[in-house]
């Protein structure tokens, strides 16, 4: 337990160790720690930013969705309106067309009937003439009696 040269030796060892620690141990570790601190702080800030952006995007998305929904509703409403309109239009068209076809048919029928009537009249007239000629047992001059025959025809 004597104080001797060991004292100097220990002091030298102390100085060397402290110097080495100060030069090669402390700075890299503390630099790394500080860098990591900065990085973590940055990361947290970025995360917060991201959260904010996400919330904003969410809000925006909701807005867009609701707009789209409204538009869809509008389109559906318009389509329904158009549908009824089209049905009404088609109904009207069909009715006019039907009327047209009906009246055309009616005209045709009238025409046919008139033609049949004319033919019938002519036949009846011829028949009447034939009948009369048979009854009179003589030949009736058609030309001589044409006037009378015409009158007959109109009467029929």
């Amino acid at each position: 337990m004597n104080i001797n040269l060991t004292l100097i030796g220990q002091s030298v060892a102390f100085v060397v160790f402290v110097w080495f620690c100060m030069k090669f141990v402390w700075p890299p570790i503390v630099t790394a720690l500080n860098d990591r601190k900065t990085r973590i702080a940055d990361g947290l800030a970025a995360a917060e930013e991201g959260q904010k952006a996400k919330a904003e995007a969410h809000e925006h998305a909701e807005q867009v969705t609701s707009e789209a929904k409204e538009q869809a509703q509008e389109i559906i409403r318009r389509a329904e309106k158009r549908e009824t309109e089209m049905v009404e239009e088609a109904k009207g068209n069909a009715r006019t067309e039907g009327d047209r076809i009906l009246s055309a048919a009616r005209g045709e029928i009238d025409k046919e009937a008139n033609m049949a009537r004319e033919a019938l009249r002519a036949e009846v007239a011829a028949l009447a003439v034939t009948g009369a000629s048979k009854i009179l047992s003589r030949e009736v001059n058609a030309d001589a009696h044409a006037k009378m025959l015409d009158e007959l025809i109109t009467e029929l």
Binding site: I3, S11, A13, W26
Partner: protein, 287 residues
Amino acid sequence: MASSEALTTTGYIKHHLQNLTFGQHPDGTWGIAHGAAEAKAMGFWAIHLDTMFWSVLLGALFLWVFRRAAVRASVNTPAGLLNFVEWAVEFVDENVRSSFSHKNDLVAPLALTLFVWVLLMNTMDLVPVDWLPELAKLMGIEYMKVVPTTDPNATFGMALGVFALTLFYSIKVKGVGGFAAELTMQPFQAKNPILKILFLPANFFLEFISLVSKPVSLSLRLFGNLFAGEMIFILIALLFSGGAVLAIAGGALQWAWAIFHILIVLLQAFIFMTLTIVYLEMAHSHH
């Protein structure tokens, strides 16, 4: 358990308290001292090989481990050893920040070195007292004191380093005049120049004692605590040669004392570091 040539209790204790001293014998030859009287006769120009060996080995171990971590240190997630080293560095850094308020790149690494180095040297005290000396004896080495902090040379050596730094920074920060004024113009203060001169001797006496007492108390506190702890381990180890009952009691006592000693080991390292920071803070601040 006791060494073969000194089976008496006193011999056992003395053997454990003897450093492996290398120096010049009074007859002019160089060699290892055999016994306390020879070591004393060598005077100042002798060196404790065991203290030097263990302290340098442990200091190198500290720097090797921490240097490895420092090389690997990066912003990425730390793992394993790096985690531990970063924890130690942050612990010391926090302590330095809380008690040292000036800009000085030396103080934190100094505190880290002192804390870990002293802690490692103190921890040698927890190795059972006879293991390493007996191992050394097998290798032909007569004396082996494995706890460097139980050698006042080691604690004074560190305290002297700290003392030199406090003197250096006191003069660097305050100038020679400022430092001299600090030593002579307080605690008794006066406006009158004659009174000032009258107070000067008393002031210098008080301040000089308080200045010198810092390294002395710093080193003696560490030495005293560890020496006492070591002494108790040695006394407990004596029980092992006193029969089965005493041996069992000794085992239990050694176990209990070791657990308590962990606290002292850690606490003394921490106190040494904290006081060093405080002394350097005082050196930097003006009164």
